[in-house]
Amino acid sequence: MDDIRHMTLAQALAGLRAKRFSSVELTQALLGAMEASQRDIHAFVTIDAEGALAQAAEADRRRAAGEEAPLLGAPIAMKDNMNVAGQPCTASSRILEGYVAPYDATVSARLRAAGAVFLGRTNMDEFALGSTTQTSAFGPTENPVARGCIPGGSSGGSAAAVGGGLALAALGTDTGGSIRQPASHCGIVGLKPTYGRVSRYGVVACASSLDQVGPMTKTVEDAALLMDVIAGHDPLDATTLAAPAPRLAGCWEGMDPARPLAGMTLGLPKEYFGDGLDPEVRALTEAAAKRAEALGAALREVSLPHAGFGIPTYYICMTAEVSANLARFDGVRYGLRVPREEVLGQYLATRAQGFGAETKRRILLGTFVLSSGYYDAYYNRAQKVRTLIRRDFEAAFAGCDLLLAPVTPEPAWPLGVYQDDPIRNYLSDVLTVGANLAGCCAIAIPAGATAAGKPVGLQLLGPALGEATLLRAAHALEPR
């Protein structure tokens, strides 16, 4: 078989269609690599070898019978916060240990219907609360490219699995950068779709008004292939958009190969190039902007005047929703229960043992910002600032097609560093939370590496439902 470490989803599908290898062979090879890497990389919290091989065998049978489906036989890794019927779904939390999903998330159901094989569950920050994957209750994940460093988070397991060649492609979720930041740190592509483009039904909620599911892949083409399966209106998620999801795969075709970005204006938000930016990240981002110019794009500086309020606004909106979304983990119906004689004691014991420190911190923060007497000063005010931030983006997109920016202020840092400094961690989301607060789409693609060999990503941001434009530019700018 071809080298699976570098195989893209598109190549794998071509190989399966040409019958150069079977889904069982491909799945077996990946499972072997996954198992072998668990001790050092630890990208997975659950590897479902038996289930995956059964699905692969079924896919092979279907193909032999002449059937075809968009992802028939393609192995995919799922972040541990998406329900896949029959598999555990813990969101990397002790409080969901023992819970086996009784139903498919809509994204799982759509992948299943498209013939995908579910390899296993990727590690993440507990309930997606973190940007390093170190808040996982089941131990951290190591960056497979920048060894010894964090893979980013919260979708760190998915990023490490794809970046380390352990999965062809994965799904992640992005609440404030949780797809784009780990993609950047692990040298892969990560797309956060427009809010409402992909169903959240069956995805363990972090912050409902910010969460989006998206693909984490080796190429822009692979991201488009997955989007074409998972995107679109879902009657089970009232926040999905009614607008039809146009086909994205191949949307970059027909452009002038020498100047594919001709006629496109890219805005550089000056607030995203501030003092805190690591010099190597700045240099790589500016180089990418020059490359875009060479490919025909017009560059212009734009301003997002309220960008400086992004972090406090985000951490108020997000924690408020988290505090309510995580209330249901009470030991009554599923997951961990620490039995006590009376119900309040049982709640306290179950939640004290079941949640990690960062999760508790955010529940407390969220409870505080919603409480009587503080609501107007925090939650209500943050909602107003959120509107201003959204208007910033709308104004910026009135003058350009896409925004170009770094993904994170600095490359991946060593495991264990800053772990006791939540504010330091929160600040690293400064360049990604804007897209979530505004609801627009954004993608991270590889932009190169630092002198020390750490991957650095480039972020492109597009207006709501601007995925096709976003992917056209990303496809032109991604490394060949």
Partner: protein, 474 residues
């Protein structure tokens, strides 16, 4: 001191939808515990709510019935609190932007003028599950969790327990009329939280209020209010302050007990439900729904009394039940005599429905049949006893009264010669009764009429029989 009682009610009314508020589970009552549940109403990780459009329509109908303003944009909010009967540990409700605003319930006039009780708003929310406690453990049944509830919040316009009950009765009537709810009290379809305070007569400012939670019988509400009035009056007279608190009514003890005071009140941390977009209602949609709105019971009561010339009391009883009122009106129109139709529906038909345990619309008796029967009675074709005897049969099996009367020869005998023979026989066979009558015992005449009827197999005209008897005994 003399006090004025101030009462406001928050009434939860269960909507008559097939499925739950935010998922597709059935709203069936009395099923095996946890048999009507799914990831959504069990609060499973990742499950999301979607709005039941029928619940929105029914709440709008309720609002239109009470003359509320329907909000073109309303929202759902999360009310956060931990309790085992709450699957998500928050309740989806409407806090800031409810579906219906304003409106009023008109109480029938008792002494003096009719009273108008203002509605503050109506909002929509989901019910919780049901806890059962056994020795050593507790169980939760989530069948009821997610059932759509309207909360109808009145202004503090009620001034006595009787008025509170009159308000609830009128509200219930309206909701059943609009087809919004069955308002079945035994099944907990209508539950009220009661707010009550006292203030010195003539004072404008309200006194400190007490809330009594979750009452589902009218008699319980009446008794609890009576108890609270006496308790608060005694406290105020003794110079004690009323504590703002939530109390619970214990029907066995006949007393209310403190549950929690304001200092310990929960902070529900309401915020907009991010999983649900705002509910937008176009005026055209509201207008289309309004076309199906029935006449309000109070208006119908007045109209029926006027149009059919029946007493207010009769109109009130008939109008209280929409199906019964429909039946009465159709009967009255068929027979052309409103008073006669009213008498028969009120006495005979209601007695039958009580005896058979089913409403008239579920019986075989049609208003056409009853109307025809009453026409035969009025025309003297049959007598009263025959008509009454035929009614149970029509109720059970239906049929055309005219055809039945003809087929069985039930037409009354009004031929004086034929009846005279029965009269003579009755007088001859009962000399002692005749003597009693002649001695001044008026009741004896009734017995003799009965004898004539018996001999005629019920077909004699009772009036004619009586006249002939009187003549012969004179």
């Amino acid at each position: 001191m003399e006090y004025e009682v101030v009462i406001g009610l928050e009434t939860h009314v269960q909507l008559k939808t097939r499925t739950k508020m935010f998922c597709g589970c059935a709203t069936a009552f009395g099923a095996t515990p946890n048999s009507h549940v799914c990831p959504v109403c069990l609060g499973y990780p990742g499950a999301l709510p979607t709005i039941n459009g029928e619940a929105i329509r029914l709440t709008v109908m309720a609002g239109l019935m009470l003359g509320c303003r329907i909000a073109p944009l309303s929202r759902f909010d999360r009310k956060n609190y931990f309790y085992p009967d709450s699957a998500k540990d928050y309740q989806i409700t409407q806090n800031g932007a409810p579906l219906c605003l304003g409106g009023a319930v008109r109480l029938p006039a008792r002494e003096g003028e009719a009273r108008v009780i203002r509605i503050n708003h109506i909002h929509l929310e989901e019910d919780v599950g049901k806890l059962t406690h056994r020795a050593g453990c507790s169980g939760v049944d989530f069948n009821r969790a997610g059932t759509p509830l309207m909360e109808i919040v009145s202004e503090p316009d009620l001034r006595s327990p009787d008025e509170a009950i009159a308000y609830l009765t009128a509200l219930r009537e309206c909701m059943i009329y609009a087809g919004v709810s069955d308002c079945n009290l035994e099944e907990g379809n209508m539950r009220s939280d009661v707010n009550i305070s006292l203030r010195p007569k003539g004072q404008e400012a309200y006194g400190v209020k007490v809330e009594i939670k979750n009452m589902n019988t009218f008699s319980g509400i009446h008794a609890a209010l009576g108890y609270e009035i006496a308790r608060q009056k005694a406290a105020l007279d003794a110079g004690q302050a009323i504590v703002q608190e939530t109390r619970r009514w214990d029907p066995d003890a006949g007393e209310t007990f403190s549950m929690r005071t304001k200092e310990n009140a929960e902070d529900y941390r309401y915020f907009p439900e991010p999983d649900l977009p705002p509910v937008l209602l176009a005026q055209a949609q509201i207008d289309a729904w309004a076309k199906d709105l029935p006449e309000a019971p109070a208006a119908r009561r007045e109209r029926m009394a006027r149009d059919y010339g029946i007493p207010d009391y009769d109109a009130g009883v008939l109008a209280a039940d929409r199906a019964l009122a429909d039946f009465f009106e159709a009967t009255a129109q068929r027979c052309g005599n409103g008073k006669l139709a009213s008498n028969w529906v009120m006495a005979e038909v209601l007695a039958l429905t009580a005896k058979e345990g089913r409403p008239v619309q579920d019986s075989a008796l049609t208003p056409q049949a009853l109307g025809d029967l009453l026409r035969l009675l009025e025309a003297g074709t049959i007598n009263g006893p025959t008509a009454k005897a035929l009614l149970p049969e029509l109720f059970a099996e239906g049929g055309d009264p005219k055809a039945i009367v003809e087929r069985r020869g039930l037409a009354q005998v009004s031929d004086a010669a034929a009846i005279e023979a029965f009269v003579d026989a009755a007088l001859a066979d009962n000399p002692k009764v005749v003597a009693d009558y002649k001695a001044g015992k008026q009741a004896a005449l009734g017995f003799l009429v009965g004898q004539v009827m018996k001999r005629s197999k019920g077909k004699a005209s009772p009036q004619l029989a009586q006249r002939l008897l009187r003549e012969k005994l004179a």
